[in-house]
């Protein structure tokens, strides 16, 4: 049965609409450039859509707001003391395996490693690290079935807190070996999705979120940046485009028609793109929305690997 979602008619508006988020995001631009912060502010400067962001924060239920503050408190340990004696890394491949095993032990669902590319940083931010360890953590699908309600919002924040603890512990371990390491979660300096794609954890879906083989889009992403020499993973082809080209589930279910059927050029790259001006206000109204993530066929628990096999078998040759 098709779920009913809140009406797209919004009870709030801008008197004077800010510069389009699509323009800020570089929709239609053919030159490669860094992304500009637009909604989730790092606090360094006032963003074009700042009013919507503050409004979003203040209409959040207390539990979600409180969990967000607790998460910020945890994040004070995102960086910290570095052991004076550096343990040399003789075999980067083996060290990568050790780090990944540790991340899994600390609660991660999937882990990948990649270099820190400039395109994964917002304009004006400049963390000086060589590579990124990207961690995915699945959310509770039963709770996320309640999307657009506070219950799903609380689950999202719970997952953020859990993944924050994981990446903080991982960064502390790396620092204890004498290497620089900083955990990033929920912050506004990094673009986690491009890093996750580069680290071989999945591909970009039509709904603008990462789709990974194991969890679809039902997960959260966090990252540890480090200088520790580690073997890097490569991007993977898990046939996401094969699915998204033909599937219209998120396109149809999005109440504000923010998801298009064709890839578009954004900052010099052709990719799936979600209309910011339509998505962000509804996302605010529903205090986190998440419909597209929830209805994605890949997000159904346990379905990913079978879906991948089926999609690959349909490819010619």
């Amino acid at each position: 049965m098709k779920k009913k979602f809140p009406s797209p008619k919004l009870p709030f508006a801008y008197r004077h609409k800010p510069v389009s988020g699509n323009t800020i995001n570089g929709l239609g631009e053919t030159t490669l450039r860094r992304a500009t912060q637009i909604f989730h502010s790092s606090g360094a400067r006032k963003l074009e859509w700042a009013r919507l962001e503050i409004f979003f924060a203040l209409i959040n239920p207390f539990k979600v707001y409180w969990l967000n503050l607790v998460n910020r408190w945890l994040l004070r340990n995102a960086d910290g003391p570095i052991a004076a004696v550096q343990q040399p890394v003789v075999d980067a491949r083996q060290k990568s395996q050790e780090i990944k095993a540790l991340a899994l032990e600390l609660g991660a669902g999937v882990v990948g490693i990649t270099h820190l590319s400039e395109q994964a940083l917002y304009k004006g931010t400049n963390p000086q690290y060589a590579r990124a360890i990207v961690v995915l953590l699945p959310m509770d699908n039963e709770e996320m079935a309640y999307v657009t309600t506070n219950r799903a919002g609380a689950e999202t924040m719970r997952a953020y807190m859990e993944i924050t603890r994981t990446v903080i512990a991982l960064s502390q371990h790396i620092r204890s070996m004498g290497w620089r390491a900083r955990a990033y979660c929920e912050g506004a300096d990094l673009l986690h999705i491009p890093l996750a794609i580069e680290a071989g954890l999945g591909q970009l879906g039509k709904h603008g979120s990462l789709i990974c083989k194991e969890y679809g889009s039902g997960m959260r992403i966090a990252t540890v940046l480090t200088d520790m020499p580690l073997a890097e993973d490569k991007p993977v082809d898990i046939a996401v485009d094969d699915l998204c080209v033909g599937c219209r589930r998120c396109t149809i279910d999005c109440p504000v028609d923010a998801i298009g059927d064709r890839k578009q050029t954004v900052r010099g790259v052709e990719k799936w793109y979600v209309d910011f001006d339509k998505c962000a206000p509804y996302f605010t109204h529903t205090v986190g929305c998440g419909i597209c993530i929830e209805v994605c066929p890949w997000t159904k628990p346990g379905r990913g690997p079978g879906l991948l096999e089926k999609l690959l078998s349909k490819r010619p040759g």
Binding site: L58, R72, P81, A188
Partner: protein, 65 residues
């Protein structure tokens, strides 16, 4: 203004620096908690009103420059 990361992520801090960072972060969190409980009450009340009326809540009115 510095970003959250620049303010509170300290690489290799001394104990004193870490302690001062914790104090500043507690203040940062308290300001936000108070904002949810003060300004937030007014905004949520106005939002509820807008939901049952035909007039949309104008963000500029709630958050003037």
């Amino acid at each position: 203004m510095d970003s959250f990361e620049e303010q509170f992520y300290l690489e290799n801090p001394t104990r004193l620096q870490a302690l001062w960072r914790d104090v500043k972060l507690l203040w940062w969190l308290a300001v936000r908690a108070l904002m949810w409980m003060s300004k937030g009450v007014l905004v949520r009340r106005a939002y509820l009103k807008a939901k049952v009326s035909d007039e949309p809540l104008l963000l500029e009115d709630q958050f003037p420059d």
